[in-house]
């Protein structure tokens, strides 16, 4: 694969020089947590148009913008570490990208960082290993009781569950689960790290359910995504 690419580079240096792969790290908060992934894609497409960024599109009858998200965020979760790769038809300085986009994004989406990515870097979504979540509980939970529930869950050999008519074991998807100190405003905070790979992705709301905590009393935020160690510099993106 690599020799072929380099070959193409030599033959058509202009083509590649004119295009660019860019990685954007952004947060998703407020009303925007209720916007699903498909709508989020459209949102970015329009934001790029407003910012005058030349997004590249796929070939074919229904050209799609070449935007790829690292790991789709379920509806209702906020996040301070969403990552996407986009291809632009023009090489430009990434330094000015964040303010340029932030000027045209709705409140609730903020670009935290943008960097150029090698064309040869593997597809973003294949590189995610796990995701960290922080859950703030609204009232009615006693720390000792919560700790007990967590310990019970972690000591189970298997946690058979069913989601969308598919049976699976939740236990091996949990890498880390612990109680953090409650602050004054919330009854308790839970932190967890869950696997986030193709075919093996843990959902924090499933963990909450297994803990016997109703979804409505929990605010869930994704705080970090961990990537496979790449040849490129950043392998772990933690923000905020």
């Amino acid at each position: 694969m690599k020799p072929a690419l380099q070959n193409r580079h030599r033959i058509q240096p202009l083509l590649l020089a004119q295009s660019m792969r860019v990685r954007i790290i952004f947060s998703k908060t407020g009303p925007l947590i209720y916007i699903g992934n498909l709508d989020l894609q459209t949102m970015w497409e329009r934001a790029a148009r407003r910012a005058g960024l030349p997004l590249a599109y796929s070939q074919g009858f229904h050209p799609q913008p070449r935007i790829h998200f690292a790991a789709p965020l379920p509806l209702g979760f906020s996040s301070r570490c969403e990552v996407l790769d986009a291809r632009l038809n023009e090489a430009l300085d990434c330094g000015g990208l964040a303010p340029r986009l932030n000027a045209v994004l709705p409140d609730g989406i903020r670009v935290l960082g943008a960097e150029k990515i090698e064309d040869t870097a593997p597809a973003l979504q294949t590189q995610v290993l796990s995701a960290d979540y922080e859950i703030a509980l609204q009232g009615g939970f006693e720390a000792g009781d919560l700790k007990q529930r967590i310990d019970d869950l972690l000591s189970a050999a298997a946690l058979p569950r069913e989601r969308r008519n598919r049976r699976y074991d939740l236990r091996p998807l949990i890498e880390c689960l612990r109680l953090s100190k409650p602050t004054s405003e919330t009854a308790g905070r839970i932190q967890m790290t869950l696997k986030a790979q193709e075919g093996a992705t843990g959902r924090p709301d499933e963990v909450l359910e297994a803990l016997g905590i109703p979804r409505e009393v929990a605010r869930i935020e994704r705080t970090a995504l961990t990537f496979r160690r790449l040849d490129v510099e950043s392998n772990r993106i933690i923000t905020g």
Partner: protein, 651 residues
């Protein structure tokens, strides 16, 4: 009432249980949020249909802009929650709130409804109920917001007279400011926590004196024994009777900072209104009658607005709106300039409402090159006799050759709109629709092969207030069903898709648009029995409305299937779109004789617009208005009292 913070907390607990929670959270790009405490006057603009439809409404967007440009006023938005959300909101005690600040509607000084179609009436009651504002105008006091409404349905406001304090008749851009000025002056002192207005009565009286504002409580209706109207009297001094619609002499700059929804909606696009009004004079078309005179925008203004709107929103589609786009004076130049401006920018440009006879080959080439979307033409009728009656005279040859040229240029699907139930229509006229569709697709196959498709949309005519057909009865249910069955039988070609309107929907639209004040109680009964979202399919709908009429002891056919006397006073006669009843009647008689009236850009038929707005016209001479110069308007005969034989549709 709950505070915005309490509402947000309560929402958090229910939003993940509803479809598309993005409808209910706001946070869109280009919304305006102003400091609540420091802004003297607060308006909630309500589109009483779901967010997905309401968000792209241009009328409401214009008002949102107009109000938010004022220092002393703010405008926020609300839409009708879908049934899943409504159930949860009611269950959790959440009142209807605005998307910008999450404040209950009842906290606002003014609640303004947009009513573009009549099937939103039950939703309007439901919205008031969800907002915990008393539904009936008479039950509101100084603590409540003033409730106003406007839009095309206000052409006959009477069915909603009991629920809306004041109606805006005609165009709202100027009068909304006058309304806010009046109400600002009537507000109670800020330290008077018990009252919002010093006197509701005084506020409404002052509103009633504004031109183009109709406050129903100051008008009394007297009925004749047969249930028709004897007369409508004004109850206080200094109010107009009839109430004449408002217009703006010149279209104000179009809004460009459109709100960009975060979820997929029905019309994801920016719209620039290129022209208001229509000069064609189709006799069935209410919009064409009530939006006169025709006013065109300058090319430069349109192109600049389109550019600003696309840049401010990033939308992938731009619609150039009007009632009849191809009649716009410089349409080819406009499409040229817009194409040039957006070359290479992945933008779909759509030009809805094209007239068959004014779509030139040149324009089609332009459209092919840079515009996408389907191609829709509206012949409305398929026989020469019928076309003369409705005053939309387009020959079969024109329709066939235009269709051929469209297919030839690579559009594979053509949409044709027809209407059944026109006055004096027979089954032969309906059969001709099927016949014409077959000839059109054959033309297509000749030039483009077997891949071509045709979509025939066949609506059912509703004789609307303030049109030449307001004297006509609605086609009978069994007749509509027979005509639709005929079309289904005739159009069995797999490449022709036929769609039609449910007869129950047509009848409902007719009752609501032609009703008098007594319809208000029918609407209330229907709503109490669960009617809402009447524009949506619901199998229970017909039964609910039949029961509602029975509750009130009213006969539905009185509104829809009765022959009208030529001298009948209509429930809407004290409201006028500045089109004289005599003019409408003369046009109606010409229809009976099969006489065509040409485009009134070419020949003035003295509809009444120019004398009514002569001051405005004098102050704004020139090309903006498309009314031709008139020396002496022809005298029109008043309706004769002798019985003219009235056609009943379908017989």
């Amino acid at each position: 009432m709950l505070s915005p913070q309490e509402i947000e907390l309560a929402l958090e607990r229910i939003l993940l249980q509803v479809q598309k929670p993005g409808r209910y959270v706001g946070g869109e790009l280009n919304i305006v949020t102003k400091p609540w405490e420091q802004t003297g006057f607060r308006t909630a603009l309500v589109f009483p249909d779901i967010y997905d439809i309401g968000i792209s409404n241009v009328g409401l967007k214009i008002l949102y802009d107009q109000i938010n440009q004022r220092r002393d006023a703010l405008a926020e938005r609300a839409y009708a929650p879908w049934t899943d959300m409504e159930a949860l909101m009611r269950g959790h005690g959440i009142p209807l709130y605005t998307l910008e600040s999450k404040r209950p509607l009842a906290d606002f000084d003014l609640v303004a409804f947009s009513l573009p179609y009549e099937t939103l009436y039950t939703n309007t009651l439901n919205v008031l109920d969800m907002a915990r504002i008393p539904i009936r105008s008479t039950e509101r006091d100084e603590t409540h917001p003033i409730v106003i409404a406007g839009g095309h349905a206000a052409t006959n406001p009477e069915p909603m007279h009991a629920y809306v304090d004041a109606f805006v008749i005609g165009e709202g851009e100027e009068v909304i400011h006058e309304i806010i000025d009046v109400l600002l002056g009537q507000k109670a002192r800020a330290d008077d926590s018990a009252r919002r207005y010093r006197s509701r009565e005084q506020a409404l009286r002052t509103l009633a004196r504004l031109r183009g504002v109709y406050v129903p409580k100051y008008y009394a209706v007297r009925y004749l024994e047969d249930g028709t109207i004897q007369q409508v009297e004004s109850l206080i001094e200094g109010i107009a009777n009839p109430v004449v619609k408002r217009i703006v002499a010149e279209l104000p700059p179009p809004p460009t900072k459109f709100i960009v929804p975060n979820i997929e909606t029905v019309h994801d696009r920016v719209s620039v209104e290129i022209m208001r009004g229509c000069t064609r004079g189709c006799r069935f078309c209410q919009a064409g009658m009530i939006t006169r005179p025709v006013r065109e925008r300058e090319l430069d203004e349109i192109v600049q607005a389109a550019e600003e709107a696309v840049n401010a929103t990033g939308f992938e589609e731009l619609a150039l709106l009007s009632l009849s786009s191809s009649d716009f004076g410089h349409i080819v130049e406009l499409t040229n300039r817009v194409s040039e401006r957006f070359r290479g920018r992945k933008l779909t440009i759509s030009l809805p409402s094209l007239r068959i006879e004014s779509v030139s080959a040149d324009l089609m080439d332009k459209l092919r090159e840079h515009y996408s979307g389907g191609f829709t033409l509206a012949p409305e009728a398929a026989t020469e006799r019928m076309r003369r009656i409705i005053n939309k005279y387009i020959s079969d040859e024109d329709i066939l050759s235009t269709s051929r040229e469209i297919y030839r240029r690579g559009w594979t699907t053509l949409k044709l709109y027809f209407m059944i139930g026109h006055p004096s229509e027979t089954l032969e006229d309906v059969r001709a629709i099927a016949h014409l569709c077959k000839r059109v697709i054959e033309e297509g196959r000749r030039v483009a092969g077997w891949k071509v498709k045709l979509h025939a949309g066949v609506g059912t005519f509703v004789p609307k207030p303030q049109t030449p057909f307001q004297w006509v009865a609605v086609d009978r249910r069994e007749s509509i069903v027979a005509k639709q069955a005929l079309l289904k039988r005739e159009l069995r070609d797999p490449n022709i898709k036929l769609s039609w309107t449910d007869p129950d929907d047509t009848l409902l639209e007719a009752w609501l648009s032609r009703g008098d004040r007594r319809m208000a109680e029918v609407i209330f009964s229907a709503w109490s029995r669960g009617a809402k979202f009447d524009a949506w399919n619901d199998e229970r709908k017909a039964g609910v409305w039949a029961a509602a009429f029975a509750d009130q002891g009213l006969e539905p056919a009185f509104y829809t299937h009765r022959q009208r006397r030529t001298d009948e006073v209509f429930p809407w006669d004290h409201i006028t779109a500045a089109i004289r009843k005599n003019f409408l009647f003369q046009d109606f008689r010409q229809s009976l004789e099969g006489q065509i009236r040409v485009d009134c850009r070419l020949n003035c038929f003295a509809c009444g617009i120019l004398p009514t707005f002569s001051d405005l016209r004098r102050a704004h001479p020139g090309e903006g208005w498309k009314c031709p110069e008139v020396k002496s308007p022809s005298r029109v005969q008043p309706p004769s009292r002798t019985e003219v034989e009235l056609p009943v549709a379908g017989y």
